[in-house]
Structure formats: structure tokens, C-alpha cells
């Protein structure tokens, strides 16, 4: 999209680094009350499940005891086994419920985040949009959200159980001897330290990884869009190499993270297993030190209890090892999502403009504009007025600020100095939607969407309750698209593939023009929209426009003198400044640049006009 001129793209310093960690916590804010309730339900059932799961080893011990003590009838064992199975069944039911709510909640969260992100991007003006690349926004809307969703799912399934198990385990351990508690604390301190170090190491890697995903999207997208040129220049290798650079970067980050994570699991199990052995060895020392049988027995039973509760804590650790590898990437993704969500879209105005007594008047008062980060002004001190029904044309060399000027009318960007007024109201005060309703905009490059010709023409909303088939037919006629549309098998309902790949340049442009006309706006803006048309179509189209939309103000950027010479006012732009203003005849006399442009296109006698 040619939305900015002349200046190199600015790379904002995105300060996500410091926010990575809190990203996941912030995401919680986006849960609705109902989902929080669901999370609580999950928690409640997790407590129940842990309780039931704790009973199982209890029964296991009882059964072992029954088996070990001769003389017990099999029926006792069967009974104990039956209870054990009941517990297992209950636990299964709990998991069923947990899974149900966890999957629903995490999927709902991701759906909401995706929708919020999409909505937010929809609210962005060009200024905010250009802060992120389209490729990055696409990654954020798909890949990043998937990371968060998967983490949320496993988080609810496993992470929630960690505090339950930990509390249970710690309470159990607290009662036993100091030596054991110390051993357990050291082991867990060790495990936690390892986890913390791993996370610290991998977080920046994961951040890099998501940036490489952006890069991958970008390179693929660009070679897809430019596929004709790529092939024409036999430049496939060039782009494959470029892709490989991103691919390789991603792979290295991927390997680095996974390898760092590979340390975590084994170290954790080493810690947890080690502490079991430590408990036994300590137990052995204490028992041999106790001397008396009674005291020794007490120590022994303490040891058994201890190892049982340690097993609980290990379970908690096991869950952590399963969830933690996902966490850093999810945290980075969450931060990237939040970065977009927290980007303030320009504040919307309040004016609807329905009560205005003017319709379609555009006025620039001393407007200057500079692209963010650019060295110089793209527009300087521009003043003019286009009254209702007038045609104002802009001409000037490539990069002279024509498109930029139009972008200010639509508030894609905002003037740095001066005011852009529509119907005597500053465009900043309009509700964006109300402002858009006044305008029909045709960009330089036709933008078409998958769908039909009809759906592309009746695109969007104009605040007047949609478009009738008659509106569409009228627009098709004015845009001189009737001739080719009628030749298509499906007529107005003919399919359009992505970006209108099945239409010629001029056909795409005429559909774009029909789309603008269909809105029946107060102001029509043509950003060099006629260049792709042959002269005949161009002329006929403008004739139709003149006849059928005489009350509509028209702002036209064009290269061809023929397209604009009958305009009420022609503004010649040069280096962002107005170099001349007037009618064709006036400018021929007064403006050197205009005369040069005209001379390059018109014959002698026409110039003499």
C-alpha cells in the first residue's frame, strides 16, 4: 500500500523485553467472569481429584499389607480393590470435568484474544499499522495466540494442581524431623534454581524465535506476492536464500531453547530422586542412632510418611516439567499480543456530521505533515478549499506528496500543523465511521477481496443501510465496468480470487471505482485511479461521473493532463508544497511546472488553448 512517501520505514523500539514475564499474568485479565468461574471449577475438581488420587496409594498400601499378612480372605482384598477402583473412577470423572472446562476456557480465551486483536488492528490508523508489519500482525493473530492457548490449556490441567500437591506435601512434611525437611528444602531449592536459570536462558531465545516466525512470514509473503517478478528474474534462489536465513535463525533459536529445556527434566528428576535416597539414608542414620526399638520404629514410620509426601511434591514437580517448557514461548507470545492490544489507536472523534449544512466541502488550512521519524516535511503549508460538487485535481512529480495529501483527508494520518476540515469540521473531531461515510476512496492499487464482483462493489457500509442491487448496477454502469462484467459467465456474481488475480489491471481498477461510487458519498477520492485505464474508458468514465455524481466533490490525483484538465481547480504539488493553483488555462500561463507537464503530453495547439 503506498501510504507513505519518500521516507525510510521507521523501526520503533519495541520494548517488550521487560514485559515478557508479566505477559501471561496480564492475559488473565482477558478472562471473563464466567471463565474465571470455570477456572475455579477446574480448581475445585482438581482438589477433589488430588484427594481421590491420594486415597489410591492408601488403598494400595492396605492391599499390600493384606497380601503380606497371611490369613486374610481374598474378599477383603477384593473389597479394598473395589474402593480403590471407585476412587480411580471418581478421579477419572474429575479429570473429565477438568478437561471439559479447561479446553473450553482456553479455547474461548484464544478466540477472544484473536477477536480483540483483529478488532484492534481494524481500529488502527496507518500510523499504528505501520508500527508493526502486516506479516508480524498475521503471526500475532495466529501463531502467537496458539502458543498462549496451548499453555492455558496445560496450565489449567496441570499447573493448577501444583499448589494443591505442594500444600498437601508441605503440610505432611512439616510434621516430620528437621533433618528431612532440610534435605527436602535443599532438593527443591536446587530444582527451582535450575528451572529459574533455564527460564532466564531461554526467554530471550524464545523472543528471537517469535521474531523469526515474523521473518518467515514476511519472506514467504513477499515472494508469494511478487511471484511473477521472482520467476521472471529467475530469482527463486535469491528468495530461497533469504528464506533460509530466517529459517536457519529460527531453527537455531528452536534448538537452543529445546536444548536448554533438555537440561531441565533430567535435573528435576535427579533432584527428586536424590532426595528420596537422602531421606532413606538420613532415616537409616537416625534409626541406628535411636538405639531403642520404639524410638527407631517412630523414626521409621516418620520416614515412610515423609517419602509418601515427598512423592506428592514430586508429582507437583513432574507437572511443572511438563508445563514449564511451554511457558517461556507462551509468555513471549502473550507479550507480543498485549503489545498490539495496548497500542492506543488514535482517539475517535464524536462528530457525526449529519447536522452540517455543508456537504462535501474539503478545506486544508496551512497543513504540514511529516512521516514519523522522517527528516523533512512531506507536506508543507497546504491550503485550499474544494466546494461541494467541485473537482479538485492534484498533479506533480512522483513523490511530491499527492497521495500523502489524500491520506490526510481520510485521516489515515493526522496533520502535524494546520487543519484538515470537511464540512467545516476538523477531520479529527469526526467519528471515523461517520467520516468514512462521507468518502468514497479509490487507492492507486486496486484492493480486491475474495468473493464476487458484487460483494466487492457492495463492500463495507455507508451508514445508509446497505446497498440495493440497483445501487450496484448503477455503480457498475458509472464505472464503465458493465461491458466486461456482462461478458463474465456469472455476471455480477462472478467469483474473484484473492487479490483479483483473475482480472486485468484495468478491470480491477474499475471494480475499485464502482465500489467508491456505490457508497454514494459526498466526496470521491481517486488516487491515481485512472492510470490503469485506457484513455477511452478513462474519458467515458469521467463523463459518467460528471453526469451522475454532479453533487459529489471529487479529489483526483492523476498523471495525465487529459484526466484533470477540466477540473475546477488544479493544484500542482512540488516537493510537498503548492507550486501552482488554478484552472488548466490559468496554470498554463502562470505555472512553469504545470506547463512542463502539459508539454510532455499535449500537442502544440492543445497547449495554446
Amino acid at each position: 500500500m503506498g501510504t507513505s512517501t519518500g521516507e525510510a520505514k521507521i523501526h520503533y523500539n519495541r520494548q517488550t523485553q521487560s514485559r515478557n514475564g508479566v505477559g501471561l499474568l496480564k492475559i488473565i485479565r482477558y478472562l471473563k467472569a464466567r471463565e474465571l468461574l470455570q477456572v475455579l471449577t477446574v480448581f475445585a475438581f482438581a482438589v477433589l481429584q488430588v484427594r481421590l488420587d491420594l486415597l489410591i496409594p492408601e488403598y494400595m498400601r492396605r492391599i499390600t499389607h493384606l497380601v503380606q499378612t497371611p490369613g486374610n480372605p481374598v474378599s477383603d482384598i477384593v473389597a479394598a480393590g473395589g474402593f480403590m477402583l471407585l476412587c480411580a473412577l471418581g478421579s477419572l470423572a474429575c479429570v473429565f470435568i477438568i478437561s471439559f472446562f479447561a479446553s473450553k476456557t482456553s479455547a474461548a480465551l484464544s478466540m477472544r484474544l484473536r477477536e480483540m486483536l483483529f478488532t484492534k488492528v481494524g481500529d488502527f490508523s496507518m500510523k499504528e499499522f505501520s508500527r508493526f508489519s502486516a506479516s508480524s500482525l498475521i503471526t500475532r493473530s495466529t501463531n502467537d495466540i496458539t502458543q498462549v492457548q496451548q499453555f492455558a490449556m496445560s496450565g489449567m490441567q496441570m499447573l493448577l494442581k501444583v499448589p494443591i500437591l505442594a500444600v498437601g506435601g508441605i503440610i505432611g512434611i512439616a510434621g516430620s524431623g528437621l533433618e528431612w525437611t532440610a534435605a527436602a528444602s535443599i532438593a527443591f531449592g536446587f530444582v527451582l534454581a535450575v528451572v529459574a536459570i533455564c527460564l532466564a536462558v531461554v526467554l530471550p531465545q524464545f523472543k528471537k524465535m517469535q521474531e523469526f516466525v515474523d521473518k518467515l512470514s514476511l519472506t514467504v509473503r513477499e515472494s508469494l506476492v511478487g511471484r511473477h517478478v521472482v520467476r521472471a528474474y529467475n530469482a527463486e534462489d535469491f528468495h530461497e536464500e533469504k528464506f533460509e536465513a530466517a529459517n536457519n535463525g529460527f531453527t537455531r533459536a528452536d534448538q537452543a531453547t529445546n536444548r536448554a529445556m533438555a537440561v531441565m527434566g533430567p535435573v528435576m528428576s535427579l533432584g527428586t530422586n536424590g532426595v528420596v535416597v537422602a531421606v532413606y539414608v538420613i532415616g537409616a542414620f537416625l534409626i541406628s542412632a535411636a538405639g531403642q526399638t520404639a524410638a527407631a520404629l517412630a523414626v521409621f514410620s516418620n520416614m515412610v510418611v515423609m517419602s509418601f509426601y515427598l512423592a506428592l511434591l514430586f508429582n507437583a514437580v513432574k507437572f511443572i516439567t511438563k508445563v514449564v517448557p511451554r511457558m517461556p514461548r507462551a509468555a513471549v507470545s502473550a507479550a507480543r499480543i498485549i503489545e498490539v492490544l495496548e497500542t492506543e489507536a488514535g482517539e475517535d472523534g464524536v462528530v457525526n456530521g449529519e447536522e452540517a449544512c455543508k456537504h462535501g466541502e474539503v478545506e486544508f488550512r496551512g497543513v504540514s505533515f511529516r512521516y514519523p521519524g522522517a527528516a523533512g516535511n512531506a507536506l508543507e503549508d497546504i491550503s485550499f478549499t474544494a466546494k461541494q460538487g467541485e473537482t479538485v485535481a492534484f498533479i506533480g512529480s512522483t513523490g511530491s506528496g499527492k497521495t500523502t495529501l489524500l491520506n490526510l483527508v481520510m485521516r489515515f494520518f493526522e496533520a502535524a500543523k494546520g487543519e484538515v476540515l470537511i464540512d467545516s469540521v476538523d477531520v479529527r473531531y469526526y467519528r471515523q465511521e461517520a467520516l468514512n461515510n462521507k468518502i468514497g476512496y479509490v487507492p492507486q492499487k486496486a484492493v480486491l477481496f475474495q468473493g464476487t464482483i458484487g460483494s466487492n462493489i457492495a463492500y463495507g457500509e455507508n451508514g445508509k443501510g446497505g446497498y440495493s442491487p440497483e445501487d450496484i448496477a448503477r455503480a457498475v454502469k458509472i464505472a464503465r465496468a458493465e461491458e466486461f462484467v456482462s461478458k463474465l459467465d456469472g455476471g455480477i456474481n462472478s467469483g474473484i480470487s484473492q487479490r483479483g488475480a483473475n482480472l486485468s489491471g484495468g478491470q480491477k481498477q474499475r471494480i475499485g471505482i464502482a465500489r467508491a461510487v456505490c457508497r454514494n458519498p459526498e466526496i470521491l477520492i481517486f488516487d491515481d485511479a485512472f492510470s490503469a485505464l485506457d484513455y477511452k474508458t478513462d474519458r467515458e468514465l469521467r463523463g459518467e461521473l460528471k453526469a451522475k455524481t454532479s453533487n459529489t466533490t471529487k479529489l483526483i490525483v492523476a498523471q495525465r493532463i487529459g484526466t484533470i484538465m477540466d477540473a475546477d481547480q488544479i493544484i500542482v504539488l512540488d516537493g510537498g508544497k503548492i507550486a501552482g493553483m488554478g484552472t488548466h488555462a490559468e496554470l498554463l500561463k502562470s505555472c512553469r511546472i504545470y506547463r512542463e507537464i502539459a508539454a510532455s503530453q499535449l500537442s502544440e495547439e492543445e497547449l495554446a488553448l
Binding site: 500500500m1 525510510a8 520505514k9 492391599i63 493384606l66 480411580a88 479429570v95 471439559f100 479455547a107 484464544s110 484473536r114 481494524g122 508489519s133 502486516a134 495466529t142 496458539t146 513477499e222 515472494s223 511478487g226 517478478v229 520467476r231 528474474y233 530461497e240 528464506f243 536457519n248 533430567p266 530422586n273 535416597v277 532415616g283 534409626i287 526399638t293 527407631a296 520404629l297 521409621f300 517448557p325 512529480s397 513523490g399 499527492k402 489515515f412 487507492p443 492507486q444 477481496f449 475474495q450 468473493g451 464476487t452 457492495a458 463492500y459 463495507g460 451508514g463 483473475n502 489491471g505 484495468g506 492510470s531 490503469a532 485506457d534 484513455y535 477511452k536 474508458t537 460528471k546 477540466d566
Partner: protein
């Protein structure tokens, strides 16, 4: 009214998403997909086998643990009454410590190896897709959305990679544990072993039943991501129009529809997969209870000692643990399968015909181009070019004019072999281009297209492009000739300023860059398809001069609406509906007073003055 409107949008948005429809039928095909995936992993087989060996070794060590722990307990228990054998305790503890250390080391090495292998497998898949994109016929891109293709690379391969990494290792060690403990069980007592197997089979079969439903959800999830990607890409690409037309609401509605479907697929896939582990745990408990009950009965009958039961219980624990871990990997394996299927969907697409056998070379081309009875249509039943014939002599400048949609760009597409004609042929120096390789044909032409396309890279890279030998002086010279140099010099980093596809330059400036690119390329022939449509006419006149120099002695094809650019052409071909309606030189054609004369008049005809 607006309903009808949004309806259309929805229909439009979901055109690229018809994958959804095919979801239900697509449940089978595991073997096929995994065979292909395995073929892709071939290069990494040694690493994977190495990891497998580590996994087996680790599992064997793990099987030793319960026995040692039991021994430790026994020693301590015996020592309660006094005379605790501390030496024995220490020695067992040391053995355990060594085992744990070895297990940790093995498991680390295994994960480390696999992390490397799976990352490379994913890298390889991404490369393949990226290369595939260049081998697909351009027609392919007419029916898929770009976002969906991107989703193959970012989302699908990512899923494959993550799932492989997380599951292959677990699957390996769990299988080893499972087989090991199974062997121990069978060796100890076959009756109890069968009991355990039977009991856990129930869990295993019910998991399988659950899983038979879940794959379609995983596939729907990946398809849903692709569809969302497609829609999002389209809307973000057309951001300015979407905004200006208040199309955000309709775009959101279409998005919400896709998002809702993705939600449904996602939660179902997650729910089902979250259910497998507990199901297996339950069947583990079931196996345990069954074994104990059967074992107790056997003890009662005096067939076995209870010591055997105690040992057996440990084996059952490991057995069910192995089984549970195996089952845990199933959802991951399923999502890998689903995502791989999508990856292979694009990798298996028919490629452009292989041309490596072609020996015909177009070398030192003079530039004679013959079109013989060419006919072509993008759809087979809709012919756009009918029986087009023309002869172009070396060095001539051929202008193709005509109303929009007449087939001008289509002719270029055929000349460049972007598409193959349905009938007739094009020859360069008498050689049918179908006999030369595409690359060979392409390298005969410098080309500037209607849509100026830049890639992310510096101005210099964008201009030099393939031509690595282009010197800075040469680039500056070309840019000066077309009036681009002073603008580039004004950029913050001059020729090193990074441009990209999104913004940075005005359309006209982008066109100038692509013209500079074509001029640097300097192939024997030239194609200009509306190359200066967004450039102002003064600059165009400048370019014209530079171009004329470039075209000197080069056959060139020019499509332009501004007839001033083609007045001096050696041959002007007027196209209408894919037919030549007129051809000749400017003067002749004006005299004939036919369609060309009409076109010519139209550009100078002054519009009626308002009354």
C-alpha cells in the same frame, strides 16, 4: 440490505476455507502421512536411532530402581530392632545414586539429540515448502489464499516440530519401559501378566476409540488456523480500503465465523486429548487391582509366594506407567499427523513439469519472436487469446495496445511461460519456447510489471537483485538516467535504506526502482507492461530517453495506455478481446482511421466543458 451484504462477505471469506468441508472424510491416512514424514526424517535417522538407544538404556536402568529401593527399605526395616547395617545402606544408596545420575545423563543426552533432530526436520520441511512455492504453477495461487500458504510454514510445521520434539522421546522411553516391564512380568508369572495385559487393554482400546474421533478435530484445528490466516492476511493487506469503507464490521463478522469454527475444533481437540492420560491411569489402576486380586487368590492356593506379588506390583506399576506415557503421546502424534497432512497437501501438489532433460539452449539470442496461432484461456472453457499470430524481427519495438481486459498482459504471461498456451506456440529465434527451460526463457527478458513489487531489503539490493555483479557506479548511473538518483540520495541511508513491501515509497517511486532493476538486468529482450503508469509524465519522458537507449538493438514489448510512449514503435498491435484487430505503425494506423485512431483521439479529446 446489510444482511445481504455481509452474507456475500462471508461467502467470500470462506472461499479459501473449503478445507473445512473435507474434514470429516479425512480420518484415515495415518500410515501414508507417517511414511512420508519418515522419508523426510531419513537424514536424521542415525540421530534418532542414537536417541532410541539412549532411551532404551535409560529405561533399563529405571527398571532396576524399584528393586533397589525395596532392598533399601528392607535393610532399614530389619535394622529397626537394632544392628542396622549402615554399610549396606550406604552401598545401596550409592548404587541408586549412580543409577539416577546415569538416568539423568541419558535422558538429557536423548532430549538434546532429539531437540537437534526435530528442529532440523522442521527446518527441512519449511525449506521444502519455500522451494515448492517456486515450483508450483502460478495457477495454484489463484485458488489458495496467501495466508493459508503462510500458515503451512508458520503454524503447521511449527506444530509438527513441537509435537515431534515433545513426543518422540517420551514415546521411545515409555515403549522401552513398557516392553521391559512386560518381559519381567511374563517371566515372573504369566497368569498375572495376562491379567495385567487384559486389564490395561481395556483402557488402551477405549483410548483408541476416543482417539478415532479426535484426529478430525486436530485437522479442523489446523485448517481453521489456515483459514483464519488467509482471511487475516487479506484484510491486513487491504487495511486502508477496509478502513475507508467501514468494512471492518463485515470483516469482523467473517472473522468471527471462522474464529467460532476454530474455537469449536480447538476445544474439542483439546478436550479429547486431555482425556487420554487419565483414561490410561484408570486402566493402570484397574490392572493393578486385578493383578493383586488374582495374585492373592494364587497365594491362597499356595501357587505363588507373596514376595512374588510384591515384586510383581512394581512391575505392574512400571508397565502401566509405560502404557500411560505411551498414551500421553497419542494426542501429540495426532496433531503431528494432522499438521503433517496439511504440509504434504502443499508438498504433494503437482509441480511445473520437470525440464532438466531439456537440452535446447537459447544462447546469444538475436531477438526474433514468432507467435503462431496462439490460443489460451485461464479457464479451459473461456478463451482469452484466439488464434494470435505475429512476427517480430530482432531489435523491433512492439507495442501492444487495446482496451483493458483485451489480453495484453495475458500475452506477456504466455511469452514468459508463466502459463502454457492451449494451442499454437511462441518461438524465439525459431526455437519453440516450450522446448527451452523456463529459466532460460526468463533470462531472455528484462521485465517491468504493472504492479511495482519491492522486497524487504536495501534500495541497492532491490535494484541489483539477481545481478550481483552490478557495481555501485552502474546502479547510480542507471538511477540518474531515470531521475531516481536524487531521491535515493535524499533517503536517510541513501542506497542502503531498507525498503519493504509495505510502505516506504510512493507508487511512482516503486515503479522507478523496478525500472532501474530491469535496466541493470539488461537481458536481450525487454517487456514493459504499463511500466510507467504511476510515474508522472515529465519523469516518464526522462525514462523514455533512457529506455530508448536500452532498447537499442533489443527486441522489446511495450504495453502502455499512454500512446505517446509507443508512437515510435516498429509495430503496433491493437488487441480487442484477444484478437488482433489492427496492426501496423503509428502513421499507417492513424490513416486507417480504425480502432487505433479512435484510441489515439480519445487521449487528446478534450472533455466537454461544464455548461
Amino acid at each position: 440490505m446489510s444482511e445481504h451484504n455481509s452474507d456475500k462477505r462471508l461467502k467470500g471469506a470462506s472461499m479459501g476455507t473449503n478445507h473445512f468441508a473435507g474434514v470429516a472424510e479425512d480420518v484415515g491416512g495415518y500410515g501414508e502421512t507417517w511414511r512420508k514424514l519418515a522419508a523426510h526424517c531419513k537424514k536424521h535417522l542415525p540421530l534418532i536411532v542414537f536417541a532410541l538407544i539412549l532411551a532404551v538404556a535409560g529405561s533399563i536402568l529405571q527398571i532396576l530402581v524399584p528393586g533397589r529401593l525395596q532392598a533399601l527399605t528392607d535393610i532399614i526395616q530389619e535394622g529397626i530392632a537394632g544392628g542396622l547395617d549402615m554399610d549396606a545402606v550406604i552401598s545401596v544408596a550409592v548404587v541408586l545414586g549412580v543409577i539416577f545420575a546415569c538416568t539423568a545423563l541419558l535422558s538429557f543426552l536423548q532430549s538434546y539429540t532429539l531437540a537437534g533432530a526435530t528442529a532440523q526436520i522442521s527446518e527441512n520441511l519449511r525449506s521444502q515448502i519455500s522451494r515448492k512455492i517456486n515450483k508450483l504453477p502460478l495457477k495454484y495461487f489463484g485458488r489458495v489464499s496467501l495466508g493459508n500458504v503462510m500458515s503451512h510454514i508458520t503454524n503447521d510445521v511449527d506444530t509438527v516440530g513441537q509435537a515431534l520434539n515433545q513426543n518422540i522421546g517420551t514415546l521411545m522411553s515409555a515403549s522401552a519401559l513398557f516392553i521391559g516391564s512386560l518381559g519381567m512380568m511374563l517371566w515372573s508369572n504369566w497368569i498375572m501378566a495376562l491379567t495385567a495385559i487384559f486389564a490395561s487393554a481395556i483402557g488402551f482400546l477405549s483410548s483408541k476409540a476416543v482417539l478415532s474421533h479426535s484426529k478430525k478435530f486436530f485437522k479442523a484445528q489446523q485448517n481453521g488456523l489456515g483459514a483464519i490466516g488467509g482471511h487475516v492476511e487479506e484484510v491486513y493487506s487491504g487495511h486502508s480500503v477496509v478502513k475507508a469503507y467501514n468494512g471492518t464490521k463485515a470483516a469482523k463478522e467473517a472473522f468471527a465465523e471462522l474464529n467460532g469454527r476454530l474455537y469449536a475444533a480447538t476445544w474439542k481437540a483439546q478436550f479429547v486429548s486431555g482425556f487420554i492420560t487419565p483414561l490410561m491411569q484408570f486402566s493402570g489402576t484397574l490392572a493393578y487391582v486385578s493383578v493383586v486380586v488374582v495374585g492373592a487368590a494364587l497365594v491362597m492356593r499356595g501357587q505363588i509366594s507373596f514376595g512374588l506379588i510384591v515384586a510383581f506390583i512394581m512391575y505392574v506399576n512400571q508397565f502401566t506407567q509405560g502404557l500411560t506415557h505411551i498414551a500421553e503421546t497419542f494426542p501429540g502424534i495426532q496433531s503431528t499427523t494432522a499438521a503433517s497432512e496439511r504440509v504434504f497437501e502443499i508438498l504433494d501438489e503437482d509441480e511445473l513439469s520437470d525440464e532438466s532433460h531439456k537440452t535446447q539452449r537459447l544462447s546469444s539470442v538475436r531477438g526474433e519472436v514468432t507467435f503462431k496461432n496462439l490460443s489460451f484461456g485461464y479457464d479451459k472453457d473461456k478463451t482469452i487469446i484466439h488464434d494470435f499470430s505475429a512476427e517480430v524481427k530482432p531489435g523491433q519495438k512492439i507495442a501492444i495496445v487495446g482496451p483493458t481486459g483485451a489480453g495484453k498482459t495475458t500475452l506477456v504471461n504466455l511469452l514468459m511461460r508463466f502459463y502454457e498456451p492451449d494451442g499454437g506456440e511462441i518461438c524465439i529465434d525459431g526455437v519453440p519456447i516450450s522446448q527451452a527451460t523456463r529459466g532460460d526463457v526468463h533470462s531472455q527478458f528484462s521485465m517491468v510489471l504493472q504492479d511495482a513489487w519491492l522486497f524487504e531489503g536495501t534500495v541497492r539490493e532491490n535494484i541489483a537483485y539477481k545481478n550481483k555483479g552490478a557495481t555501485d557506479e552502474k546502479i547510480a548511473e542507471v538511477c540518474t538516467a531515470i531521475g531516481l538518483h536524487s531521491f535515493i540520495a535524499s533517503l536517510p541511508n541513501g542506497y542502503d535504506t531498507v525498503l519493504n513491501d509495505e510502505a516506504a515509497l510512493s507508487e511512482g517511486q516503486k515503479q522507478l526502482v523496478t525500472i532501474a532493476r530491469a535496466m541493470i538486468h539488461a537481458a536481450p529482450m525487454l517487456i514493459l507492461d504499463e511500466a510507467t503508469s504511476s510515474v508522472d509524465t515529465r519523469t516518464e519522458a526522462l525514462i523514455q530517453g533512457a529506455m530508448d537507449m536500452l532498447m537499442e538493438g533489443r527486441t522489446s514489448f511495450v504495453i502502455a495506455h499512454r500512446l505517446s510512449t509507443i508512437k515510435n514503435a516498429d509495430l503496433i498491435v491493437v488487441l480487442k478481446d484477444g484478437n488482433i484487430v489492427e496492426s501496423g505503425v503509428h502513421g499507417e494506423l492513424l490513416l486507417q482511421n480504425g480502432p487505433y485512431a479512435e484510441l489515439h483521439r480519445s487521449q487528446f479529446e478534450l472533455p466537454a466543458r461544464p455548461a
